[in-house]
């Protein structure tokens, strides 16, 4: 973006952009760069005690280089956690985004009744905090309390079913938001496109599949990326359900392992290293997804 007018060169002009940038730079440094830097610093250290480890001066911090990272990468529990989260994430992504797209398209059709009410009803669960939503569903899952169990004899908190039960909570809470994101984009599409399609003899279904979905692609990709990141960071649902069942371990998801290391085992250093590994993997996954779909979505020019 070079400016055509290059001849004017005043020192003030060079400084101005930086003045405007200062707030952003300061905020970025304070709330992003410094914490990340501190995390990396912590990840290279470890507490070392001597003897009984009691009393003053028995504990000091030493530099251990990449040892914490090596331990994090070599920990089978972390990778098992990733597998569990990938299975859970695939489930959530497909069902949640599928439903969100379906609802958005349905709400956007011309003949829908109670559009306003449905929109709010679908969106409302998103306003329920994750912990509350999980506890609410948890009560519905518990064998002796659940009204569902009186009709349907399934153990919702069993070893295999618990993943579906948690995915259900996430889908319930997340569909509304994604639906709204897609719906807003749909409303921004000029109506004359549909009119043209209708004149060509397209049915509502054909309009949805041939016109709306292609135009929605960028928004779908965006919601997918956010959903990928959110499911990788799954923490609330398993943590809140854990006291109710013995099928969720303290390291069920990678982030739960970070929490356990830091606050249950009191090892901030390993937790820092593991969280850096998690951040790297999330970055690779979301960038990888973007790379795969980029040309389809944003390469139209």
């Amino acid at each position: 973006m070079t400016h055509p007018d290059r001849t004017v060169r005043q020192p003030g002009r060079i400084l101005w952009p930086y003045v405007f940038l200062t707030p952003a730079i300061v905020l970025f440094t304070l709330f992003l760069a410094v914490p990340i830097g501190y995390t990396v610093y912590l990840a290279t250290r470890r507490a070392k005690v001597s003897g009984l480890g009691l009393g003053r001066g028995a504990r000091r911090e030493v530099f251990v280089g990449f040892e914490n990272f090596a331990a994090a990468l070599a920990d089978a529990e972390l990778w098992h956690g990733w597998l569990r989260v990938l299975g859970y994430g695939a489930l959530v992504l497909v069902v949640m985004l599928g439903l969100a797209l379906l609802f958005a398209l349905l709400l956007d059709t011309a003949r829908v009744r109670l559009a306003r009410f449905s929109r709010i009803a679908i969106f409302l669960p998103f306003a329920v905090p994750g912990v509350a939503a999980t506890l609410l569903w948890g009560f519905l899952y518990l064998p002796s309390l659940s009204p569902i169990r009186e009709v349907l004899d399934v153990d919702f908190l069993g070893a295999t079913t618990v993943t579906y039960s948690m995915a259900n909570v996430a889908v319930w809470g997340g569909t509304g938001f994604n639906m709204l994101a897609l719906y807003t984009t749909l409303r921004a599409i000029p109506r004359d496109l549909y009119e043209a399609a209708r004149l060509d003899g397209a049915s509502e279904f054909q309009i949805a599949v041939r016109v709306k979905i292609p135009l929605l692609t960028p928004a779908i990709i965006l919601t997918t990326v956010f959903s990928i990141i959110a499911t990788i960071q799954v923490f609330t649902e398993p943590t809140a359900l854990r006291p109710l069942t013995n099928t969720i371990s303290s390291t069920w998801s990678p982030l739960m392992k970070v929490y356990r290391d830091a606050f249950v085992n009191g090892d901030l250093y390993s937790a820092a290293a593991t969280s850096i590994v998690i951040a790297a993997i999330s970055l690779v996954l979301s960038l990888g997804f973007l790379r795969v779909v980029r040309d389809r979505a944003f390469g139209e020019s």
């Binding site: 470890r46 507490a47 070392k48 005690v49 001597s50 003897g51 009984l52 480890g53 009691l54 009393g55 003053r56 001066g57 028995a58 504990r59 905090p129 994750g130 912990v131 009560f139 518990l142 064998p143 002796s144 309390l145 070893a159 938001f177 994101a181 807003t184 984009t185 921004a188 000029p190 960028p218 928004a219 965006l222 919601t223 956010f226 990141i229 959110a230 960071q233 609330t236 006291p243 109710l244 013995n246 099928t247 969720i248 371990s249 303290s250 390291t251 356990r260 606050f263 249950v264 085992n265 009191g266 090892d267 901030l268």
Partner: protein, 438 residues
């Protein structure tokens, strides 16, 4: 049109970023406990983290009598989370001045250098407590890291009405307990005599203590870890057998499910601690007056051992600028007869001070049908044995939860889970550099 779409996308991005920020943040935010800089004049203000109910009322009494040392109660959630929160606050440099420290967490606090040595301040009050309880705040060393507040000797709580109805005898040994469990299943297939909770390492610890376990001990300059020793394995194998046989349930304690079972009379016993009346009153109000208490079943007939589940001390933070004032308050709270009376009455604790235990008269309201409740408690307390807790109880307890969850789920032996606790504990201590006796 393009700009439009970009705008929409941006709006989506921003909203999502904000939303994810909001929900991604850890919900627990330790309220910074401010201990204002020490000033020569004016009253000293102390922050006190505790989860004992009505502690603010007890502190009011102190504040009225001691205008120079003002204590502010900051109510905590309690349990393992409270310990994690205190350790984190201490590490971050803004701990409270005083903290309620469960006996099992005190060594972790000491190892993190988060609590002060009160040896000089407590020299006069050592004899107010039994040697066993005093050992829990000294770890058998020369230092004193807290003042015992309450203790939780374990007893057997049982539904007297249902025991009578089914013709069950109060079990005196664990052998009899197992037989009663089988008999009950025959009489009432809906009910269980008890449940084994994989979420409550504290209860299991108490049962292991009763059997004579010494999970940690100090010899000279090194630690000895004996979690997978015979007593603990015996306890684990016993419950394993009952759960696998299907005569004891495996639902965790303190869940809505468990409350319902207690209320509906589908759980007939609860091996718990002296503080259980408070829990039962809150979680099973319908069964008031139907429960009774007996000593824990014994491993060998004729013995009278028990273990501890819970119990806590008042510790002074290593970071406080007002150590002397804090120690004065902690001493008053746990040894002054008036304060102990308030602790019993308002906070419903079983006091650690020996003379406090003797003054207890009227049984808890929930157990009004058992006038000798406190006499029973004192008898049990006399036979309760504990052990020195290690510096990484958090690791051990977490290994308990994960290990026993897995054992229940995969039907693997409980003794494997005990071995897992031992291995995790030793590995963590090795990694940190603690000296271990092999």
């Amino acid at each position: 049109m393009r700009a439009n779409r970009l705008g929409a996308a941006l709006a989506v991005a921003l909203t999502a970023a904000l939303a994810s920020c909001g929900s991604g943040e850890p919900t627990e935010r330790p309220e910074a406990a401010q201990s204002p800089a020490a000033s020569a004049q004016g009253p000293v203000t102390l922050t006190y983290w505790t989860w004992a109910p009505n502690m603010d009322k007890i502190v009011e009494v102190w504040n009225a009598a001691n205008p120079d040392v003002r204590v502010t109660v900051s109510k905590q959630a309690g349990g393992d989370d409270a310990a994690a929160k205190f350790l984190t606050a201490a590490k971050a440099g803004n701990p409270p001045d005083l903290v309620q420290a469960e006996y099992q967490h005190l060594p972790s606090f000491i190892a993190a250098d988060a609590v002060a040595d009160l040896k000089a301040e407590t020299a006069a009050i050592e004899k107010e407590f039994s040697a066993g309880l005093w050992g829990l705040v000294t770890l058998g060393t020369e230092s004193v890291y807290g003042i015992p507040q309450d203790s939780g000797p374990m007893m057997l709580f049982y539904r007297k009405d249902l025991f009578d109805k089914h013709g069950l005898k109060v079990p005196a040994t664990w052998q009899e307990y197992a037989e009663a469990a089988r008999k009950l299943r025959e009489k009432d297939p809906q009910a269980y005599l008890g449940t084994f909770s994989s979420k409550d390492p504290g209860a299991f610890t108490g049962l292991a203590q009763q059997a004579g376990a010494q999970w940690w001990s100090i010899s000279g300059e090194s630690w000895k870890v004996g979690i997978a020793d015979e007593p603990t394995r015996r306890v684990a194998a016993y419950w394993d057998g009952l759960v696998k046989e299907g005569v004891i349930d495996d639902m965790p304690y303190f869940t809505p499910e468990w409350n319902k079972a207690l209320n509906d009379g589908r759980l007939l016993t609860w091996p718990s601690a002296v503080w259980a009346p408070g829990v039962l009153a809150g979680n099973a109000p319908k069964a008031k007056g139907k429960w009774a208490v007996a000593p824990l079943p014994q491993w060998n007939a004729g013995e009278s051992y028990s273990g501890f589940w819970g119990g806590s001390s008042t510790a002074v933070s290593a970071g406080t600028p007002h150590k002397a004032a804090a120690a004065r308050f902690a001493t008053w709270l746990n040894t002054d007869p008036a304060a102990i009376g308030l602790l019993v009455e308002e906070a419903a604790v079983y006091p650690a001070a020996t003379k406090g235990q003797a003054t207890l008269g009227q049984a808890p309201d929930y157990f009004s049908n058992q006038p000798d409740f406190w006499r029973q408690a004192a008898a049990v307390s006399a036979g309760a044995r504990g052990f020195t807790f290690g510096p990484n109880v958090g690791v051990t307890y977490n290994a308990f939860k994960d290990g026993f969850d897995k054992a229940l789920q995969n039907r693997t032996p409980f003794t494997d889970a005990v071995q897992g606790m031992q291995d995790a504990t030793v590995a963590d201590m090795r990694k940190s550099g603690f000296q271990l006796a092999s």
